[in-house]
C-alpha cells in the first residue's frame, strides 16, 4: 500500500480525528490543479505561472505541517494561554469541492464574500482557502520584497553589514 493509498484509507474511516489528520497530511488531495488555478488568480501575475505554482506548493506544505494544539505566544502586557485550533485542511477541502469553476476573479470574490472574509488573516484560519493562500503569500517576506521591489529579506538572517544602505533592487526591477 502506498502512503497516498494509506492516507486515503485512513481519511475514509469513521473516526473524525483520524480523518482530519489524514486530510491534513494529504492536502490538497485531488484538488491540486484547482488550487493552482486559484493561485494564478489571487497571486500577482508578476510571479509568472511557475511562480504562483511554487507559492501554492509552499502553501500546501504549510498546511500539511500545521500543528493543531500547539501553544501560541502567550502575550505580553495582557496575557492569555491559547493553542492553535484544529487543522484548516478539512474546511479547505470542502471549499475547494464547492467553489464555482471555471476559476475567475469574480468567482473568488463571490466565494470570499459568501464566507464573510473581511481582511487577510494574520495566520491561516480556515474561513476560505483563497484568503488563507493570499495571507500566506502577502504577509510573507517575499511579497514584502515584491511590493517594495527591493531585497529586504525581512524574515531572513542577513548580517549587519550594508544594512545602513537601502536594500538592493530586486533583479530586473528598478527600486
Amino acid at each position: 500500500m502506498t502512503r497516498r493509498n494509506l492516507l486515503q484509507w485512513l481519511a475514509a474511516l469513521p473516526i473524525p480525528a483520524l480523518q482530519v489528520w489524514a486530510q491534513t497530511a494529504m492536502f490538497p488531495g485531488e484538488h491540486g490543479p484547482l488550487l493552482s488555478e486559484i493561485g494564478a488568480v489571487v497571486l500577482p501575475r508578476e510571479l509568472g505561472r511557475a511562480g504562483t505554482d511554487r507559492v501554492v506548493e509552499q502553501f500546501e506544505r504549510h498546511v500539511r505541517e500545521y500543528r493543531p494544539g500547539a501553544d501560541t505566544d502567550h502575550g505580553y502586557g495582557v496575557t492569555r494561554l491559547r493553542v492553535k485550533p484544529a487543522s484548516p485542511a478539512p474546511a479547505y477541502l470542502r471549499q475547494l469541492a464547492s467553489i464555482k469553476t471555471p476559476i475567475s476573479a469574480e468567482t473568488i470574490a463571490a466565494a470570499l464574500d459568501a464566507a464573510g472574509v473581511k481582511e487577510l488573516p494574520r495566520f491561516a484560519e480556515g474561513k476560505h482557502v483563497a484568503a488563507d493562500l493570499m495571507a500566506f503569500y502577502f504577509h510573507g517576506s517575499e511579497a514584502n520584497d515584491l511590493c517594495y521591489r527591493a531585497a529586504i529579506g525581512r524574515d531572513q538572517c542577513r548580517g549587519l553589514e550594508g544594512s545602513d544602505h537601502p536594500p538592493a533592487s530586486l533583479k530586473g526591477m528598478s527600486g
Binding site: 500577482p44 500543528r67 501553544d71 502586557g77 517576506s141 529586504i152 529579506g153 542577513r158 544594512s163
Partner: protein, 529 residues
C-alpha cells in the same frame, strides 16, 4: 523528604539570579550555590531557528514550554516561568535610568529618594553592561556621562533608522541608537548579530539571555540548578528572625517534598513572585508575611505608563530591515525644576502601520493578485514611524500585590493578584503630561511634513517593579539598598522588586545593576576562602 544544604539558596532563575550567581562564584569561589526555578530549563539553542520559523509562519510560541499552566498572576505582564525568566525573550534593550530616578524627592518633591547615590549605581550599570554584553553609543547629554565606555561598538543604524533619525532630528529633539544586549562582534562565547529581525527569539545567541550564563556556570560545576521546583514557603527559626529553610516541591515528583537549608537566602524571583513568596510565608510572628513589619511587602507596585503614535513620514522606508532596533531620545529625562514635572523617554521604530497588504479597498471591494499588489504599492510610497514614550509615573501605597484566595495552584497556594494604582500627584498631572506628549508627537510630525495616523494610550504599566521597595528606614521600606531585608538578617531580595519607582525607560539594566551591587554585599556574608 529530600534535603539540600548549600551556602546560598537563590529562589528564582531569571536574569537577576543568573548574574547574582555568576558574580558570587567569582567573589567567593567554592561557595555552594543552589538556584531553584519553578519553570523548566530550555537549553536548546540548536532548536531556536526552527522555533523562530514556527513562530513567524504559524504564530506558535517561540519558547515552547516556557510557562506553568496553573501558576499565573492576575494582572501580571507575562506568563513566562522558565530558567532565564522573562529575559529569555526580552528585546535586549539596555537603556539606563538617570540621576533623577534616584532623587525624585529631593529634586522634585515626588515619591522618594532611593537610598543610594547615582554615581555608585552608575558603576554597577557599567558592570551590568560588561556582563550582559551591551553595544551602544554614548548619550549626547552631559548629564548622562559614563564612567566607562560601552563594551561593544553600537549597532549600525539601518537605512530605515537613518531616514527616521534624519526626520526626527529636524524637530530639534536629538535621537541616537538604543543600547542593546546584542553582539555587534563575537562576545563572551556568543555570536555576532546577523539581523534575523526576531530578537524575541534570537536563533543565534547574539542577544543575551540568562540561559547562557546558567549553562556556563553549570558546565564549570559552579552552581546547582534545580528547575521545575516550586518554592512554596520560607521557614523561620523557632525563636530567631532568620530563615532556616525553603520548602519546595518538584513539579515532576509532586508527592515528594523538598527542603533547602542555607545560611543565606536570596529571593530573585522578580516583581511578582518575590513578594508573593514573602506573603505566602506568613507565620505566627509575621502574620502579614515575612520581611513585612513595615506592611509594605506587595505595596508600591510600580511600572511606567506609555503612549504610542504612528506618524506618516516623508521618507523611503523599507519595512523589515531591522524592526527590533530603535532610536531613543533622552531629551526629556530631565524635567526643569521650575516647571511642572514631565519626564519620559522617546523611542522611534520603523513600521509598516497603514501600509500592510489588504484584501479590500476603502469601498469594500475585494482586491486580488495584481490589484492587491498595486493598492499595496500605492500606499507604501510614504513611510511610517512608530513612536512611543515611557512616562515617569509613581505608585501609590495601595498599588498592590495580594494573595488571591479565589485563585489557587494545584498545591492550594493562593496566587498573586496585582492591581496598579498611581499616586495622587501622578494622577493630578496626567492630563498635562498627555497634552505635552501630544505636543511632542505633533512637533515630530510637523518637522518632517508628517501626519499623525494614530495615537493610543497603554492600558498597563510596562517594565513592572516594586513590591519590596528599598529604603533607609525599616518603617517605610522592606529592604536596604542592597536588598537586605530589614527584618531578617539572612534574607535578601534582589532586582526588580526593590525599586521604589520604575523610571521612564526599560528597567532590566537597572535591575541587574542593583543585583550586582547586592552580590557584593551577599558575598561579604562569607569569609574569603
Amino acid at each position: 523528604m529530600t534535603r539540600h544544604q548549600s551556602d546560598v539558596c537563590v529562589v528564582g532563575g531569571g536574569i537577576s539570579a543568573a548574574l547574582l550567581a555568576q558574580k558570587l562564584t567569582e567573589l567567593r569561589p567554592g561557595l555552594s550555590i543552589v538556584v531553584i526555578e519553578a519553570g523548566r530549563r530550555l537549553f536548546d539553542l540548536e532548536n531556536r531557528m526552527e522555533y523562530r520559523r514556527r513562530s513567524t509562519e504559524y504564530g506558535e510560541n517561540a519558547w515552547p514550554g516556557d510557562y506553568i499552566p496553573d501558576q499565573a498572576a492576575q494582572g501580571g505582564i507575562s506568563r513566562t516561568m522558565a530558567v532565564g525568566g522573562q529575559a529569555l525573550h526580552w528585546g535586549g534593550t539596555c537603556n539606563r535610568f538617570s540621576e533623577e530616578d534616584t532623587r525624585l524627592k529631593s529634586m522634585f518633591g515626588l515619591a522618594m529618594d532611593w537610598p543610594l547615590e547615582w554615581n555608585e549605581l552608575e558603576r554597577y550599570c557599567c558592570e551590568a553592561e560588561r556582563r550582559l554584553g551591551v553595544s551602544g553609543e554614548p548619550s549626547p547629554f552631559a548629564e548622562d556621562r559614563r564612567s566607562e565606555p560601552y563594551p561593544m561598538k553600537e549597532m549600525v543604524l539601518s537605512h530605515n533608522l537613518l531616514e527616521l533619525q534624519r526626520w526626527a532630528n529636524q524637530s530639534g529633539i536629538p535621537f541616537q541608537g538604543i543600547p542593546q544586549a546584542k553582539n555587534t562582534e563575537p562576545y563572551d562565547g556568543r555570536a555576532q548579530c546577523i539581523r534575523c529581525n526576531t530578537c524575541l527569539i534570537c536563533p543565534t545567541g547574539a542577544r543575551y539571555s540568562p540561559d547562557f550564563t546558567f549553562q556556563q556556570l553549570l558546565a564549570a560545576k559552579k552552581i546547582q540548578l534545580h528547575d521545575q521546583t516550586l518554592v512554596r514557603r520560607l521557614v523561620m527559626h523557632d525563636t530567631k528572625n532568620i530563615i532556616v529553610a525553603a520548602q519546595a516541591v518538584n513539579r515532576q515528583k509532586p508527592d515528594e517534598s523538598i527542603e533547602y537549608r542555607a545560611p543565606v537566602f536570596v529571593l530573585a524571583s522578580g516583581y511578582t513572585w518575590s513578594p508573593h513568596l514573602l506573603l505566602l510565608s506568613r507565620n505566627a510572628r509575621f502574620p502579614d508575611g515575612l520581611a513585612n513589619r513595615s506592611g509594605l511587602v506587595g505595596r508600591y507596585m510600580a511600572g511606567h505608563a506609555f503612549i504610542s503614535a504612528f506618524i506618516e513620514v516623508d521618507a523611503k522606508i523599507y519595512p523589515g530591515m531591522n524592526e527590533t532596533h530603535s532610536l531613543i531620545s533622552r531629551q526629556f529625562f530631565r524635567s526643569p525644576q521650575d516647571k511642572p514635572f514631565v519626564r519620559h523617554d522617546l523611542r522611534v521604530w520603523e513600521s509598516n502601520y497603514g501600509r500592510e497588504p489588504r484584501l479590500r479597498d476603502a469601498t469594500g471591494k475585494v482586491l486580488l493578485g495584481d490589484d492587491l499588489l498595486a493598492d499595496w504599492r500605492r500606499r507604501a510610497q510614504r513611510g511610517t514611524a512608530r513612536v512611543r514614550a515611557y512616562m515617569d509615573v509613581h505608585p501609590d501605597r495601595d498599588s498592590s500585590l495580594t494573595l488571591d484566595e479565589s485563585a489557587k495552584n494545584k498545591w492550594g497556594d493562593p496566587l498573586p493578584k496585582i492591581e496598579h494604582r498611581l499616586a495622587a500627584d501622578t494622577l493630578a498631572r496626567q492630563s498635562r503630561v498627555r497634552e505635552h506628549m501630544l505636543g511632542v508627537f505633533q512637533r515630530l510630525a510637523k518637522a518632517g511634513d508628517g501626519k499623525i495616523l494614530n495615537i493610543s494610550d497603554g492600558d498597563y504599566l510596562d517594565h513592572p517593579a516594586g513590591g519590596c521597595r528599598m529604603g533607609a528606614e525599616p518603617s517605610t521600606s522592606v529592604c536596604d539598598s542592597y536588598g537586605h531585608t530589614h527584618d531578617h538578617e539572612n534574607l535578601f531580595v534582589v532586582g526588580a522588586p526593590t525599586l521604589p519607582t520604575a523610571g521612564c525607560t526599560n528597567g532590566t539594566l537597572t535591575f541587574v545593576a542593583l543585583t550586582l551591587r547586592s552580590a557584593s554585599r551577599i558575598a561579604g556574608q562569607f569569609p574569603r576562602s
